[in-house]
Symmetry: C2
Subunit: 309 residues, 2 copies
């Protein structure tokens, strides 16, 4: 089961973090841009190739110390189908290097349309007599506003191909409370969503206590993180908001159980742009990313203690 | 303003409908499949080319009678980046033929990530000193679960490029009520979302009374459609659920105001697969789609009366 696989990688590397690959052209070193734009006359293709090269360099330096990467679909789509091709190739390269891939797409729809998204990102598409993994991620982030009709097609794919999902429960942004904190009786909207995750997860249990249905819970609301950890004992958390968005190691520590399991903490800009912050030569961007990934791991391990199955 | 443009096209054609382009390979006539698979060894490329050919035929027959098309991103993503290229080319072709394009992606995220989605689908991406429309739709469907942080980047793009959005309010699926019908005080979750749409819309008003912030409201819940039409006087509705999902002309009529404006009704399978239902030669699939589009227009006009500005 896919969440089991992530847990095993986390324990093996003693590192409950994921590197977000949300590459804007601004983040990419000049030397990579120059090479990519010299090689293609199509600006979107050149941009997309630059992102892919940038990602490959990061993956090479991170793959032995960070269990997972999380490419954010938006940053690829903005460079058109050429960018989306770079997303597919990034996922394939991360897999070649043994990394676990969470495709951050926050997809949502119903019925056959949701089946299409599920096939695209964590399943396979039937073409003639072949079954083809179009993007081939291990996990997909999704939005549960449409209810069970939007989630069940994913559960089917999770079972068939050993994959997982993360449902948005409580997001890290300032306005997340406009809807998510509203009260339905004595529960907030995000609690209702959390309960649905626990229920959906019953269909796809995992061997370490966490189902294939995870939840996105932001680091910027630590008290809610603590509350949800207690109320959602079978739901693994994907936690954005560490670093650039303001969450610290102590804040994210509430997402973990007593074994040091239960969550994976994301850092995107912190890792991708470490070389800018450190002021090192741009050719060393990936080494700077590695140093930041190690610092982040130690920071979080310091707050949660050991990790064991 | 983009919603004004759609309204003008609807009035000009006396047709408040949109043709959903959600092409599965199963829907595509054999002769198109044969040609596409003979021309390429890459199964995803062949599949994507078949979808594009299928769409072009539909667009050719619909462009003088139907104001808009709505390609659903999921059905393209399932064929990988090759499918996403077919999406981009479908949008470009629909524009060549003068059609309005609603990209159905139900995208959602926050901050710079939402800016990236907005740039990708309704805005432009900066590459060097060029600004490039990566997909170039006129409107994008979005999910508002994350609150204003997820919508504001879109409003900026709506203003800058005369574009629009449709926010999921009340969806057409059986389980939509699991969250959307829950009560927050004396209002349901979908009413709260509807009120947010009205508020977001204030920033981007239109000259016919409807803002650039539309809402997705399903045809399968007519009483809620009527209720929301009254409560959201400045919000244009995109209404799925007609035909295949069970909604009839009377059901969708509640989405309209006294001028016969206020909504655009979607039909996907009904139009795309009309040739199968009619039992005509597959070479006439586009003509059958045209006949069904005319039948649908007359059906809906019969229920709402005339359309005028």
């Amino acid at each position: 089961m896919s969440m089991d696989l992530l847990i095993e990688k986390i324990v093996e590397m003693k590192n409950p973090t994921v590197a977000g690959l949300d590459p804007k052209l601004d983040y990419v070193p000049e030397y990579i841009l120059k090479e990519a734009f010299a090689a293609s006359d199509d600006p979107l293709e050149a941009a997309a190739n630059a992102l892919l090269q940038f990602n490959k360099g990061l993956i090479d330096e991170l793959c032995d110390i960070v269990p997972a990467v999380k490419p954010q679909a938006a940053y690829y789509e903005m460079y058109g189908w050429q960018g989306v091709r770079a997303l597919a190739r990034t996922i394939a390269y991360a897999h070649e290097k043994g990394m676990y891939v969470i495709t951050d797409g926050k997809r949502n729809d119903i019925g056959t349309t949701m089946e299409a998204y599920a096939a695209a990102h964590i399943g396979k598409t039937a073409v003639g007599d072949q079954m083809i993994a179009a993007f081939g991620g291990d996990c997909l982030t999704v939005n549960g506003y449409l209810g069970s009709d939007g989630i069940k097609p994913l559960l089917k794919m999770c079972k068939e191909y050993d994959k997982g999902i993360y449902v948005l429960v409580k997001t890290s942004n300032p306005s997340s409370g406009e809807l998510q904190d509203q009260k339905i009786g004595d529960r907030s909207v995000y609690e209702v969503m959390g309960e649905m995750c626990e229920k959906w997860g019953e269909e796809v249990p995992g061997k370490y206590g966490y189902s294939a249905v995870g939840a996105v819970v932001g680091a910027t609301y630590p008290s809610q993180l603590e509350e949800l950890r207690a109320k959602m004992p079978h739901t693994f958390f994907l936690v954005p908001g560490y670093g650039a968005q303001g969450g610290g190691a102590k804040d994210v520590s509430y997402a973990f159980d007593k074994r040091g399991l239960g969550a994976v903490i994301n850092s995107s800009r912190g890792i991708m742009c470490a070389y800018k912050k450190a002021g090192v030569d741009e050719h060393d961007y990936a080494k700077a990313a590695r140093a930041e990934a190690i610092r982040m791991r130690e920071d979080i391990l310091g707050a949660i203690g050991d990790i064991s199955l």
